[in-house]
């Protein structure tokens, strides 16, 4: 940890939440827009990747789904957080590192091949149904719904946050896909970084007065509940 980062943590008592966000709403939403403009039309490929990962997880190809998910985590960690967000916030380097770690975790799980849930989720058979349904809904929230939230809130088309391009939909969709594709310790391992990011970005968006600030923490809460549910049910069997 650098002296500045440690100093900040040591020095943080007594601040209000707003004092932890060193940029304005204008700057953050311009960042969303600039990244959207820069990588257009990569969005289409990213959406296909998100949909593909969801379908693969659902149709008993969890290992491949997990491997594919590593790509957007590495990409957004480098291009959004490391190269741009870190200019605005010293913590951006740490967030970028966490996204890289998440990509490594997903690749590690793929390589080990353990912890995958090979239940036919689509058949909704004997296995717990609700966690699968919740996982698919979270995945759809991240991949399909997220890009229309910004424009519906009055922002421009390039401010549409897209899975694989921007971190928030990437984290939300990953929570859902992991809920479908993984079980036990592997599920928890894959969920830690996305859960933490959803809390960080939720608090940031709250400070910035974004209308959708509640969505990432709400998605994290849903994921946490059903991850616990799935773990308990698995343990009980």
């Amino acid at each position: 940890m650098t002296g500045s980062a440690a100093g900040f943590l040591e020095d943080s008592a007594g601040y209000s939440l707003v004092d932890f966000v060193p940029f304005s709403a204008e700057v953050y939403f311009r960042l969303i827009e600039r990244v959207g403009e820069t990588f257009w039309p990569l969005h289409a490929l990213a959406l296909l990747l998100g949909l593909g990962s969801t379908v693969l997880a659902w149709r008993v190809r969890p290992r491949l789904a997990c491997a594919l998910l590593a790509i957007p985590w590495a990409w957004t960690g480098i291009t959004f957080l490391g190269q741009r967000y870190a200019e605005l916030n010293w913590a951006g380097r740490w967030f970028a590192g966490a996204f890289g770690l998440q990509a490594a975790i997903l690749l590690l799980l793929t390589a080990i091949g353990a912890g995958f849930d090979r239940t036919e989720g689509g058949a909704l058979g004997r296995q717990p149904r609700v966690p699968y349904a919740a996982g698919l809904l979270l995945a759809m929230l991240g991949v399909v719904i997220y890009p229309i939230i910004g424009p519906l809130s009055g922002f421009g088309p390039f401010q549409a946050e897209t899975f694989g391009i921007h971190p928030d939909p990437t984290a939300v969709a990953t929570l859902g896909i992991a809920l479908v594709a993984l079980r036990g310790a592997a599920l928890w391992l894959a969920a830690i970084v996305p859960l933490l990011w959803c809390m960080v970005t939720g608090l940031t968006l709250q400070v910035l007065d974004a209308a959708w600030a509640v969505i990432p923490p709400a998605a994290a809460a849903v994921a946490l509940i059903f991850t616990a549910w799935k773990s308990v049910r698995s343990f009980a069997r």
Binding site: Y15, D19, P22, F23, V27, L31, E87
Partner: protein
């Protein structure tokens, strides 16, 4: 960097008015009758230098990263600041890209000599002091800061030792320490009593006046210049007050108070211990309002008490 708030500034403002055709619409509106009066200045007791009582902060407002569009917009804010006479600009390594954006603006405007550059050391690692200062100087495009402060008293013992040594070698102009949000006042008081500081920076505004009890009298006794940060309480104070209330008529009559920026800033800088206040903004029009608050008549001690009672009654 040399700073002279006297005749050179006045000439610049007049020249800006004469060159009106080349200036933007905001600047054409800027030099009204009262803004052409000399800005009130505060004295840095340790060096005898004078500073306009209104400076500018950069927390959040200048942290725009590499966004060219926003960098150019902030350059216009600095342009307005300089055209009003300039003064202290305060920054910190904690403020992300603010130092780089300020460097961008000053280079574009060729205005490095129009600001009194105030930076901070923000690390608990005593070995990083000089490296961090050098890094911030590179971002600003400066060789020497007019003021170097220890941010929020973090690791102040070791940093002050280095900073006083740098001051002796004329590598920095002045030395100070900062706090904000009313925190660590007891520790700040001890530092003020024991160290030969040129500046302290603390939070002082019409709703946060704890510093009046001990710190501001101590600063006067010790000859320490005082920078008031968070004059609008991070923006919440002025946004909350101006959307619901008109400026009271007695303030308009008494000291030509035209808006809430006038009211809030004049309250701060009329305290005899305050050297300057550092409001931050992203808006050119707000910069004009801020800078105008440093000119014209100021409230008397009796009026200052009435200002407090009025704000408390809202």
């Amino acid at each position: 960097m040399k700073f002279d708030a006297g005749r050179r500034r006045t000439i610049k403002v007049i020249a800006a008015g004469m060159a009106g055709a080349s200036l933007g619409p905001e600047l054409l509106r800027a030099p009204d009758a009262s803004s052409m009066t000399a800005p009130m200045t505060g004295t840095i007791q340790s060096s005898g230098r004078r500073l306009p009582v209104i400076g500018m902060g950069t927390w959040q407002t200048f942290n725009v990263g590499g966004d060219e569009q926003l960098r150019l917009a902030r350059t216009e804010v600095v342009r307005a600041f300089v055209e009003h006479g300039g003064g202290m600009v305060d920054c910190s390594p904690m403020y992300g890209s603010s130092a780089a954006v300020m460097g961008f603006a000053l280079e574009r405007l060729g205005a490095a000599e129009s600001v009194f550059s105030a930076e901070k050391v923000w690390t608990r690692d005593a070995d990083e002091t000089r490296d961090q200062i050098a890094g911030q100087a590179a971002e600003w495009g400066l060789e020497r800061f007019d003021l170097m402060q220890v941010h929020n008293l973090l690791g102040w013992e070791a940093h002050l030792e280095t900073l006083f040594e740098m001051k002796r070698k004329d590598e920095i102009g002045h030395v100070g320490v900062t706090t904000s949000h009313g925190r660590r006042h007891a520790e700040l008081e001890r530092v003020m009593e024991r160290q030969p500081l040129d500046f302290v920076q603390l939070t002082y505004n019409v709703t946060h006046r704890e510093a009046e009890q001990r710190l501001l009298p101590l600063a006067r006794d010790k000859g320490i210049a005082v920078i008031a940060n968070r004059p609008y309480d991070g923006g919440r104070l002025i946004k909350g007050i101006q959307t619901r209330h008109e400026v009271p008529g007695w303030a308009i009559d008494a000291f030509d108070c035209r808006n809430w920026a006038d009211f809030l800033l004049k309250f701060i800088v009329s305290h005899p211990a305050i050297t300057c206040a550092i409001p931050a903004t992203t808006q050119v029009q707000h910069m004009h309002e801020n800078m105008r608050a440093g000119r014209g008549p100021m409230p008397t001690p009796e009026l200052r008490e009435r200002m407090v009672r009025h704000v408390e009654s809202l």
